[in-house]
Symmetry: C2
Subunit: 335 residues, 2 copies
């Protein structure tokens, strides 16, 4: 294995000089730098990550904790993952992947063992067991999501309350008076994933504000679950002309079910979806949607972690404002 000493010898300088060329932490004469860089290239030298971590107390690795759930849309998770990995690379960081089912043990293992400089945690629940432990770690953490109480820890997420409100507002402004919410899977509510309840709160606020009539139902994330959910909605509010769908997995089945029951979108039923853009565009009819900006959120999470690492910024919470894009699934109704 090639070491820094080999490079130093080849370049006729000391090891520390090579180190400084690499880190840029002190000025080096152009001539010396050139020789060192030539030797590095010639020997194909790569600094030993472990040695570096030991001496510098930096690993240039961050941990990313992902859920394994199948009741949340897996492609959406994957979008977060790739955006985090891509953003991390732009800071010369690598990503260690943990699964949520390891729980607190996984976090303290990688943090306590100094395997990572920071942690990014997805799928945070309202009252998440992991939050108190994260707060105690030496490394900064960034949550994707918003627990009940998050003082001392950074959070980033879409502003789901505002998003729920905006969805209803859009339908109200198009004259809809009777609407329904097709929500996330029951399990998502049960385990207290906060985006579900925040969205619902915003939805209900707007319903009251605009004086609408509404029903809301969780929706199992598959064909049967969607069928059942629509059955209930049709029973309780048969006059509904607008649907807010906060469940990516339900979208495709839903469109089928509507068509099968003879209802056209948007002529007979308007649909506002909450999903990433590519999902809204990947269906038979382009959906009017409130974007879940996975790319942004992932990049911001990494950025927040980096800012905390270089001391530029303490813990903060950032909620992204919803953006609604009109496409082909909403129509105004006339009384």
């Amino acid at each position: 294995m090639t070491t820094i000493a080999d490079v130093a010898q080849a370049a006729g300088v000391s090891a520390s000089t090579v180190s400084y060329v690499l880190s840029g932490r002190r000025s080096i004469s152009a001539a010396t730098r050139a020789r060192v860089e030539a030797s590095i290239a010639a020997l194909d030298y790569r600094p030993h990550a472990g040695a570096r971590a030991l001496a510098s107390r930096r690993t240039n690795v961050l941990a990313l904790v992902v859920p394994l759930r199948t009741d949340v849309n897996v492609p959406v998770i994957m979008q977060f993952v790739t955006s985090v990995v891509t953003a991390a690379r732009s800071y010369d960081y690598d990503v260690l992947l943990l699964t949520k089912d390891e729980g607190e043990a996984g976090l303290s293992r990688v943090a306590g063992g100094a395997m990572v400089d920071a942690l990014i945690v997805m799928d945070v629940e309202s009252d998440d067991d992991r939050v108190p432990m994260l707060r105690r770690l030496r490394q900064p953490a960034v949550l994707i999501g918003l627990p009940q109480r998050s003082p001392g820890i950074s959070c980033v997420d879409l502003d789901f309350a505002a998003t729920g409100y905006a969805a209803v507002q859009h339908l109200a402004e198009h004259g809809h008076r009777n609407i329904a919410l097709v929500g996330p899977a029951p399990a998502v509510y049960h385990r207290g994933t906060s985006y579900a309840t925040r969205f619902l709160a915003g939805f209900n606020d707007a319903v009251a504000q605009f004086g609408l009539t509404a029903v809301a139902h969780p929706c199992g994330s598959n064909f049967d679950g969607t069928m059942e959910c629509m059955r209930q909605i049709d029973t309780e509010l048969p006059s509904a002309t607008g649907l807010v769908v906060h469940n990516e997995m339900a979208l495709a089945p839903l469109l089928n079910i509507l068509r099968a029951s003879g209802r056209r979108v948007p002529e007979d039923m308007s649909v506002v979806a909450v999903c990433p853009t590519d999902v809204a565009l990947g269906l038979p009819i382009p959906l009017t949607s409130l974007d879940i900006p996975t790319q942004n959120i992932g990049a911001i999470a990494v950025e927040m972690a980096m800012h905390q690492l270089d001391g530029r910024q303490g813990p903060e919470t950032r909620l992204l404002a919803p953006v609604l894009t009109e496409r082909d699934s909403c129509l105004a109704v006339h009384a």
Copy 2:
């Protein structure tokens, strides 16, 4: 930070004894071990990963390289990822996640920097640029997939040739004489991803063997692509009574299109899918399928890496035999 020296002092032993208690590489008296373990627990000691890697030349981390493509089914990729992470944890290994778009640079970065002990590479192409470089690394690599020439490197994959053969055979044995293959996306063929061509070869072999008439078409991985693919099939072989679908993303649109054109599955059209079990079960009608055993493949990849690390096994290629499960999408035709 708590170090091994702190633990040693607390337990009244030397640092090396603590190290040996941890590694189990030499026998320790029960009394000493108990005291050491008590101190470890009391101090909540975690060995520093970097120091460990430096001294032992082992990181207990393996690299996993995933594609970012959206033309292959993202949930399937995620299944591989979670099975690899889960299997790795069972060997006390962590997983560093790389994306394929980093190419050879990413591989040599993490391998050259001794960040990982082994690499697992997904989405390997027939003539993959990364293979020669992987062969040169100090660390063992396991490919998920099968490049043209793989001597000296471990591979694991479903036996796609046998799978293609089995799909056709199943239809032939049910009396179908005219069949069509709905293949992966054109891009998958173009970049030479070998499973596509291996499957096609097996498909064609069986078609010849059983004296069938067949057409095969790539299929764009969305609604429009599937529509276009079916249009071509209907034009070229309108008498087809059986479909082999080697494209998870095409399955849902395909069933819709068939229904929209008035064809019932399985009465008017038999369908054999190649996909993970959960995909086959997640559609309106449970599909007869050849399983893509993502869990197995991921676990085997990790196992092969571990066996190479402890010198128990050199590079080898393992192709898993296809397993067909009959469900509700295939019917025998009578002449």
